[in-house]
Assembly symmetry: C2
Homo-oligomer: 103 residues x 2
DNA sequence: GCTATTGGTTAGTGGCAACTTACGGTTCGT
DNA sequence: ACGAACCGTAAGTTGCCACTAACCAATAGC
């Protein structure tokens, strides 16, 4: 999932999709790469659960998948929480043993 | 910043640092790459504002930078909010013109 | 002062992934 | 039915980045 966000082009695609659902052809006007490249990136983003797509005739409409963003936020919150706890624990241990070192 | 999180090894380093501050040598026991590789990744993570370091004699103690995680969360929240708004707007427009298509 | 430990830097290489070109398939319009 | 539009996939190339090996600097300990 974070691998998908690691590529600047994919972030540009997501940024373009942030303004609302869009077809592949419409995305080419906002992202400076060829259409096949965009298709490949959309495939990666889809496998990562960050975008969803729906066929509308020959048009394929892509949109941001809110569940993907949600789980990304959960991951970040969990990481954030554990890091904070570990840091507090570290501070507590350091404070306890502070007297042993010379001030 | 998200480029820094795109690499699995860097995420492994962050995961190891999540348990508390650590020296470079200690990190090599949790991340299966050579020490120079870890140094390079730590440099990237530092430039991204995700880790902070402090020299303690010859030991260099690295830890997770909470400000970096904070700004990452802000970015995600902003993206999340705009995506939600755009989606709501899209739904509103679609609802308004729904009667034109055949049911 | 000498050696060992710790860690950052450089040079060089290999592999992967992002990109383009070319092609095939499906649907809309006439 | 035929051409056009829209899109995905396959094949091939190129550039970048993650990694290792070798080297250098700084501090701790004797």
């Amino acid at each position: 999932m974070l691998d998908a966000l690691g590529d600047p082009t994919r972030r540009a695609i997501l940024t373009a999709l942030r303004r609302g659902p869009s077809s592949v052809a419409a995305l080419t006007e906002h992202v400076p790469v060829s259409r096949p490249a965009i298709s490949q990136h959309l495939k990666v983003l889809g496998q990562a659960g960050l975008v969803d797509h729906e066929a509308r005739g020959t048009r394929h409409i892509y949109r941001v998948d809110r569940d993907g963003l949600s789980s990304l936020r959960e991951w970040l919150d969990q990481f954030w929480g554990e890091a904070l706890d570990a840091y507090a624990e570290h501070v507590r241990r350091t404070e306890t043993t502070r007297g042993r070192r010379q001030p």
